[in-house]
Symmetry: C2
């Protein structure tokens, strides 16, 4: 017997009650039974995105909604800024280039957040910037970018919108669309939403909808206006991923039961405990100055290969975490703590990590990640 | 207690063994456990599509793969022919127009198949036609278009490909990609594949891959070349819909166990029995000359509204079928018999239909759809 534990930054574990709901016989997406589900989902998504706007739903993974945000709101030749401080920032650059936008890339060293000052300067120098593309949480480096500050810079400009990839942000920490004046927020199902992958989401401000009205790029499957029109009638433009939508109703109910503020506080607590734990082992955080509460990226000690840590955890202890990509390959490991994850999952992850590090010859030397985390997590 | 029966042309019922497989704890899409699943899936899809080519897989509904077939193989201004004899033929027109192709629309009266002669003439008159877009099975009308004959017309032309929406064709009747020289075949998960919606598929001939090499339309999420490159390494470009892929392995195993020829024969038998049944009631087939084995479209009798039939079946008898759309609204009903459907499901559907028609005042006058179907389905 070897139990499996999933502590990667997506897919994240799916709660049993959700697996159960999704395993009921399938229903037809034009039948009244589905409409009821979809009504609940629409309300729940507004609560989650903290908005009065409609949240659009697509059968796709998050990248589909990212593409939609470009194809529905801009036109070829539009000047935009993309923040590139990791794999997903790089993706904004790829998508905007694919669709023929004129892209100013703000390169940020991996593990660091972008300085709002750099965006402010570029906006000042370029009257004609129409969009700023950023990650709320750059999953590849464990960095949380200062979305709120950058949204404030954009807010005062009539012809500029901020487009936020919040795939590991929504449901992890506060990103209130209406209150912060975020223009586009996209996410996916397999992160804090605790579902299998296969659903993508996009919510737009009124300002962003005005951009949609003048955008001329081609889109069909990810047609935001068509999807909005259908959503207001209680249906989807194309066949939705019915079983995932049924699971979605369940997770949105769970989030509402817990309360969004409590959900954010839980993620904050788990992230704090994880960081304290790995630091207690003498390991450095990869993103010490702006760590995301979704995932903690940790520098592996000299002499240890990060890929070996990932492999040992998986094969010896049944724990799936993520390693580093590209320039961070072998240098970092990423411990996720988002979604259906609680205090003792952090203890599990850190406990397994300690054993794997010992197995790989790292001398823990009486240090304990578990104990450091316990001091944050204990309840009395 | 009211049991629910799903006899609509998608989503179709999901076998219990598949629901069970999909309700296991989620696995990570970069972990070895997923790679094993994906290897099986790749093999199974080649068997299903009757091809040596790789079959690409997307987290999307079928329309996503349709868009991909346009965006990956053509360039703005390319001249193409679309066959428009129903809602899905219309969709080929919408997508090709959206991407700026020069579209020759072949309008076909609803309920009829396109005559290959018309395509032959257009091809003769237009040396520069690069693509012919068609449905194998036009779900909105219950028509099967003569894909094989049209593929033969296209096959001899070096610079023309045939693009087949086989969303209710693959796994219903023979559409051997290699043997017939089909260039692109797309389908979705929620039809003969017996899965919830959320997966789309596309397979390409070598000739179609050459079109991909010169196509300049923008695509990112549905990037066929990128997906192929990843598939050959045993992975997906973007996060796949893991739970659906796990279900897919199960249904592909079921199809292989039954044997593709037997699967086709079963659909043929169920369709024949359904047609015989409704005709025995004195009802006309909507597509008498070229009926699809996926779904039978039936003209409702004078004085009866098709929408009332659909509603009575659903609310009184718990049976979900489909009505007509647009010009066929209220005039037809559509009884599906594809996917996880067997002989007695046809008896169930026809038995319920008889009761609904009586409830709506139609005099059956001793006629029996059930008996007519039984004469085809009985096993001795």
């Amino acid at each position: 017997m070897k139990k499996q534990y999933l502590l990667a930054p997506g897919p994240t574990p799916v709660p049993p009650r959700v697996l159960q709901a999704m395993s009921l016989p399938i229903i037809h997406h034009r039948a009244p039974a589905y409409k009821e589900v979809f009504e609940d989902v629409r309300e729940g998504l507004k609560y989650l995105f903290q908005t009065q706007q409609e949240v659009l739903l697509f059968a796709a993974s998050g990248t589909g909604a990212m593409e939609g945000a470009v194809a529905n709101l801009f036109s070829a030749g539009d000047k935009v800024i993309t923040v590139n401080g990791g794999k997903f920032g790089e993706r904004w650059g790829q998508i905007t280039n694919t669709f023929g936008l004129e892209v100013i890339t703000v390169d940020v060293p991996w593990g660091q957040a972008v300085e709002p000052r750099r965006i402010a300067d570029l906006l000042a120098e370029n009257d004609d910037v129409r969009g700023v593309f950023i990650q709320a949480s750059e999953t590849s480096t464990g960095v949380a970018h200062p979305v709120r500050e950058i949204a404030e810079l954009v807010r005062e400009r009539e012809d500029t919108i901020i487009v936020v990839d919040a795939i590991t942000g929504v449901g992890v920490f506060a990103l209130p669309l209406d209150a912060w004046g975020l223009d586009v927020v996209v996410t996916g199902s397999q992160k804090a939403l605790m579902l299998p992958p296969g659903l993508a989401f996009a919510a737009l401000s009124e300002k962003a909808w005005k951009f949609n009205a003048t955008s001329t790029l081609p889109r069909y499957y990810f047609d935001f206006a068509k999807e909005l029109k259908n959503a207001l009638k209680g249906q989807n433009a194309y066949t939705p991923a019915v079983s995932l939508v049924i699971g979605l109703r369940e997770v949105l109910a769970m989030i509402r039961e817990e309360g969004l503020e409590n959900v954010f506080a839980r993620h904050e607590r788990l992230a704090t405990a994880t960081r304290a734990g790995v630091q207690a082992l003498g390991l450095d955080l990869y993103a010490p100055d702006a760590p995301s509460n979704a995932v903690t990226a940790v520098c592996v000690p000299a002499g240890v290969d990060g890929q070996d840590v990932v492999k040992t955890l998986r094969t010896t202890y049944g724990v799936t975490i993520a390693g580093g990509q590209d320039q961070a390959k072998g240098k970092i490991i990423r411990l996720a703590h988002l979604g259906y994850v609680d205090d003792l999952d952090v203890i599990t992850g850190l406990g397994a990590l300690e054993m794997a590090l010992m197995d790989l010859g790292y001398d823990l030397n009486e240090r304990s990640a578990v104990r450091a985390a316990q001091m944050i997590l204990r309840r009395k």
